[in-house]
Amino acid sequence: MKRPALWLALFLFLLTAALLFYRIVWLGYPVFPTAPGKTWQLTINTRVMPETGEARVLLGLPAENPGRMVVEETISSGALNLSLTREGPNRIGIWSGPVEPEGQEIAYRTTILIRPRRAPPERPPGIGPYPDRFTREEIALAERLAGRWKGLPPSDLIRAIAATAGGEWKNPPPEMKDLAGWRALARRDGREKSLLLLLWAANLPARLVEGLPLSESIQNQLLTWIESWNGRSWEIILPEKGKVISDSEAFLPLSVGGVPALRVYAGELTEIRWTLSRQVVSRWSLHGERIRRSGRFLDQWSLFQLPPEFQRTFRILLLVPIGTLIIGFLRNMIGFPTFGVFMPVLMALAFRSTGLAYGLGIFAGILLAGYAVRRGLDKLRLLLVPRMSVILTLVIACFTFLALAGNKLGLREFMAVGLLPFVILTMVIERFFVLVEEAGIREGLRTAAGSGAVSIIAYGIISWDPLQLTFFVYPELLAAVAAVQILLGRYTGYRLSELFRFRAVGGSS
């Protein structure tokens, strides 16, 4: 009897080990998927107020490039339609539809992973023709001004041109007539556009960018800067001061090429906020991204391929077997009394939304209320099924009351009460009652406390993020869990509690 179980467990262990080895060695999975990486979280919040007709809001969103990865996005659009499109290098979110008079909240949240030194194996951009809005004379003027710096290496050239924004013209100084003409042009088109023209005239690829400086901040306005290609990478020119920054990773572009990052039609935005905060997340997300793009079989069949909302479910589900393993351990090796096998796991799952303290409190409260009612019902001598139905109705009524009370008091934890396993609660009330009747209140409370303790432990395990991620990246670990479960199933030794229970027997020998 013992042998086959051992062999099966061994087989499952080997299976897990083989798959892990393959993933780590051949597919380059991280050994510790939970090691931290640096990311930024960008949140955009705004409210659209209606004007006539259907409102349209176009927002520039972070695009991916080799040095910057969009790890996850959550977008809420309320009643509006949402579509994501690409416009050249830009990613644009379009919210459209009729807006209620009280306005409509729009929220966008994303996590961006910055990977230094992974930056551009970007193709050097070409220079297109000048935009039509410049006259031939203006172009000639710009080329004349830029021509004086011929021979400078690109990055010096960029700095020289940037300096003109502050009115500083490196030698040789330009002719007074050209200078006056240029100032008039700069006044008309603004600093950014005139700088761009000058860069183009100097044969440098350049573009206008709207975005945010990468620092923890809340902005209600975007920053505009110019990027110019120095032959190897983009250099950033802040047009206000004419300052040049080589580190393109210090900024987060939301829209490039002169397209505004924020456009609103038939509506008005109030209180738009871009919030950037630094975050440390695990490296698994980085791998999630890589896996999603890989063509390897195991990558194709990875859980990362699931849509995000289902991923979340599976992150939890994969840990439930560990929860039951722990329950098996606590029952069969320690000797915790619990109400059934699954009740503590289901409680633990519910605690994720209600929180531990509230969850346990609600559980205890409903159990007590149910017990009181069950005592009363006992006198009525109801048949089994209708009696259980009455208790179930009571449980649901308690949930409803708690949710409503939670709403009034602003306690989200109470409103999440609906996620508690009501069927299990009903059965626990019945079993608790029978246990108290048959074995006394002490035994009943002992079992209830045991169940509570086990569900706390199970909760601790299934909400432990590193473990969640590890199982999500390596679902084959389930086979190892099954192996341990099998081994536990073959544990025929004493329970810890039995050392106490049978102490009178052991002591005599």
Binding site: G335, E438, T492, E498, L499, F502, V505, G506
Partner: protein, 314 residues
Amino acid sequence: MILESFRRLKQAGVLGMNGRNADYIMRCNPRSFFPLVDDKVLTKKLAESFQIPTPVLYCVVDRYGDVSGFQEALRGICQFAVKPARGSGGSGIVLIRDCTEKGYVTQSGELISPQNLFYHITDILSGIYSLSGLEDRAIMEALIHPDPVFDAVSYQGVPDIRIVVYRGVPVMSMVRLPTKASDGKANLHRGAIGAGIGMNQGTTITAVHRSRVVGNHPDTGNPVSGIQVPYWEKMLWIAARSFEMTGLGYIGVDLVIDRDRGPLLLELNARPGLAIQLANRKGLKERLDRIDQAPAEVFATAEARVQWAREAFM
């Protein structure tokens, strides 16, 4: 320290819950045989065909419509026990010792109206007391008049004798003595006393009350050890026969001693508890292992098994 305790229990041959479930119940008790012992009506019929005496069955109620019919079926019998056929741990049992104009008088002197007794029977039918919560049936059987041998050490109720049987060999036994705390019920969980019985002579040895070793009955104050159990040989034989009867290799046999009819088989239990080890202050495992090493001829007949057990488990 924990390891030391482990070692001590192992040395004493104590059987733990995990060991009982995996090595004995799952190995020796095929699931398909469980209904034979879980349903008292089936057990009774089976016992009859093996010439094993059981309390007389008056009637069985299996439908709600039949509930009021039981009075007719009893035909003036005023002493009987109402039990759920699949009850466990003594729950749902009502003992009636007399009928009066106003209603039935229970063992503890309470008066209950026929109406309330009907309700109780419908409760039983609905499965409140049944092991699995499924619909059940109610049985009315003869009231036991316990043999006076345990009168000095029991508080009301009927003491019963539990014998654990492995592969047809009686292994260990105890008598469960009702106390005030157990409300006259012979149930260790509720606070009845368990007194171990020496296999060879059939005399009580030590006793346990709520996992504490005791010498005297808490209510009557009389010593519980040294009592000679009557019909010992016959009870061991009934226990041994239960193996052929049920096909279950590991079983708890519950017997009562009736004043007039002698030992009667009350019920069988396919998952007998481990507290019997405390009542005897001996481990089951050690004895079970010895049975496994016994020569094959021991297992030939019930008589041979009883004989072997009485010599082996002094």
